[in-house]
């Protein structure tokens, strides 16, 4: 174990410390490591000269559990990975199994899936914005963000009874028909929401302190981002226009018009702007989708017992945090042989060390916040 660390060259403890350096252990119990992330920081005064992430404090063996459940039974487990974006997780898994089975969800289900997933993206970004601002010391935006997120959770609750771990979709479509008022609720939410985003911008975007704390902090160049497999808003803020919703459309995204916001410098401020714009774009998609929800069945022709033919499949979606991929191997039985999940948070977290070197302790917190990690997803 120790040998491996040495060759990896990232272990901060086995390297010789300079006389003016200390090791600061941040987490797993720390107010702003967003759960149970542990970062060992090597500091020169307050300047970070090295770091090492220790993960696994929230490991629950989600992938292993999949091998002992049948396909439908595993669906609720994926909700518990990225627990602030459960609907997106479910969508990715259901679509992957559908691909493996060779069935397609009916058009109505696909449109409703799109609406709910986009609402979930907004909710996830709102939660990110609130906690990110809190990390940088702005106490108030969190509560405004939670106020709007609450509206979205109410829609989820009306739809399927659950707010957080929704298990909103079924393999082959959806279990529940959309409730009567869904369009009205979504429309009401969307109507106010643009103004609300303006409010957040009024609080932060032009704020001298906010700009000072985020501009030029945690810069990630496009090349470095691609090399490390970083995806989602973090990649787009570095100037790479890559969004799976456009590149490999799934659900009903090919029917809607939206743009992919990108940043220029790949710093924390750009990531902030990109996510804010993504919320506006998601709102646009929702508005287009509720205009015309096709009639028809909501569940495709799938049997009670799912027995996909032997084979393997990789399917990925654009989750709120990046590319969320499912790699499923079937051996022809009712249980998957192997499920491998590509969590965007884990891949994005790998960029942390590079982003914080040379910055101060305060910036570490800002960068962890801007990566938008959820430890449930990192550790699985």
């Amino acid at each position: 174990m120790a040998e491996r660390y040495k060759t990896a060259g990232t272990n901060v403890e086995t390297t010789v410390l300079g006389a003016d350096e200390i090791i600061l252990n941040m987490g797993p119990q720390h107010p702003s490591t967003h759960g149970v992330l542990r970062v060992k920081l090597r500091l020169d005064g307050e300047k970070v000269v090295g770091s090492e992430c220790v993960i696994g404090y929230l490991h629950r063996g989600v992938e292993k559990i999949a091998e002992h459940r049948n396909y439908q039974q595993f669906a609720p487990y994926v909700d518990r990975m990225d627990y602030v974006a459960a609907v997106s997780n479910g969508l990715g898994y259901c679509e992957a199994v559908e691909k493996l089975l060779g069935v397609e969800a009916p058009p109505r289900a696909r449109v409703i899936r799109t609406i709910l997933t986009e609402l979930q993206r907004i909710a996830s970004h709102l939660f990110w914005l609130g906690t990110h601002a809190l990390d940088i010391g702005a106490l108030t935006p969190l509560f405004y963000c939670l106020r709007e997120r609450e509206e979205i959770l109410k829609i989820f609750e009306k739809y399927c009874g659950a707010r957080l771990t929704t298990h909103a979709f079924r393999i082959g479509g959806m279990q529940y028909e959309a409730y009567d008022e869904l369009e009205k609720d979504v429309e009401r939410f969307c109507k106010d929401f643009d103004k609300r985003v303006d409010e957040y911008e009024a609080l932060l975007t032009e704020n001298r302190i906010w700009v000072g704390r985020t501009k030029g902090i945690g810069v990630l160049t496009a090349d470095a981002a691609i090399a490390m497999g970083v995806t989602g808003p973090v990649l787009r803020a570095s100037g790479v226009q890559w969004d799976i919703r456009k590149a490999m459309p799934y659900a009903a995204y090919d029917q809607y018009e939206f743009s992919i916001p990108t940043g220029k410098s790949g710093d924390t401020y750009d990531r902030y702007l990109v996510r804010l714009e993504e919320m506006r774009q998601s709102r646009k998609i929702c508005l287009q989708a509720i205009e015309k929800i096709p009639a028809g069945p909501i569940l495709g022709k799938v049997g009670k017992v799912l027995k996909p033919p032997p084979g393997e499949i990789y399917h990925s979606i654009e989750g709120p945090k990046g590319e969320l991929g499912y790699y499923i191997v079937s051996d022809g039985t009712t249980q998957p042989y192997r499920v491998r999940i590509r969590p965007p948070s884990l891949m994005n977290l790998e960029a942390l060390d590079q982003m914080i070197r040379g910055h101060l302790v305060a910036d570490v917190v800002a960068v962890i916040g801007t990566l938008d990690i959820v430890l449930g997803e990192v550790d699985r």
Binding site: F143, I217, V365
Partner: protein, 440 residues
Amino acid sequence: MNVIMPYVLPVLFALVIVALLPLLAGYIVLVERKVMADMQVRLGPMRVGPHGLLQPIADAVKLLLKEDIIPENADRLVFWGAPLISVTAAMLALAALPIGPFFQIADLNIGLLFILGVSSLGIFGIVLGGWASNSHYSLLGALRSAAQLVSYETSAGLAIVGALLLAGTLSTRGIVQAQSATGWWFIFVAPVGFFIYLVASIAETNRAPFDMPEAESELVAGYMTEYSGFRWALYFLAEYTNMIVVASIATTLFLGGWLRPFANTPLFNFLDYLPPLLMLGVAGYCFWRAPKQPVAVQKMFMVAVGLLCIALTLALAMPLAAPAGSLLASSKAGIHGAFWFLFKVAAYIYVFMWLRFTFPRYRFDQLMRLGWQFLVPLSIVNVMGMGLGLALHRQLNWPAAPALILGIVLTLAAGAYLLATGEKHEHPRVGEEEETSVDA
């Protein structure tokens, strides 16, 4: 007997302050939480007592009963003594502040110097506490705090000099009397000085957006990380006492101390009726809400608060109603003075809270840059501007207004220049950072 007599009243006042201050600090915390809740579309504490009015008592009891933990590797003696230093220094500073023309423990002729000196001692409590905890977070917090206090003490001191030039005395009472004599509060005569003091005092009391030493999201709780229970409460008490102290200094120096707005203008004498009416309003609200409280205890508590307000109304109104020349009427200056002083202190603290819930937090190096590259130069220029204005007025017999306005305008011009040049140095770190390698 004659030896003792002069000390009776100050000792009595001191006892009142020491007895009431923890309670006051507790209620400032409650108000802060309520103000925060109001700005964040929430209700805040609502459980203990009506509208959470008993929350500070519950908190205090909880903190007193908590286990007293001293970390294994801590320096026990220093760990034990550090919070005491902080609290003592903060409380001592209150001794020289006049809460109204009569309620003052000691009118020192070097009052302001005493306050500044003693309240700076509080930093020892923070540094020693952070060091004695033997924890990295505490140590970083303590070092940040030391650097921050030293930096902002400089600009705060220089901002005060501006007002001192106007008053010509260091006695806190004398400063208020000087404002009373001219009829102009020094905030109008030295607005730049007030602004500098406002910023510096927020930084000095470690409040957001300058709450570096205890930046919750970075250093957990800074120098207080290893403290719990009653010792932690002492630090907290010191922090809130410091807030009261800086608010009192600002009130005394810039906001006219115990003076009513337009104190010298008989036209505005109706303002004397404002305090009792305000208290009456609060009492009325309490009585109105009392029957709507869900539990009997809460009803009683609400009525008790209402009665307290009625008592205060009477105390404030009786001097007004009493015939002129009577003892009661002569107590008006003291009672109303205390009201206006506390009112201004409260308003100043409210600004603190307002800023805290609005702004993100500065980073440590940005804070230092703001302090040394903007506030200190500006405060030096401010002193020179004030000096110039006063010299023109007193030596060359210019009328006061144009002389002082000239000084202020020159100061503002210097401030604008500092801001403009400061922009260039705003983000110098990225790219210029030398490469460091950790790999062995």
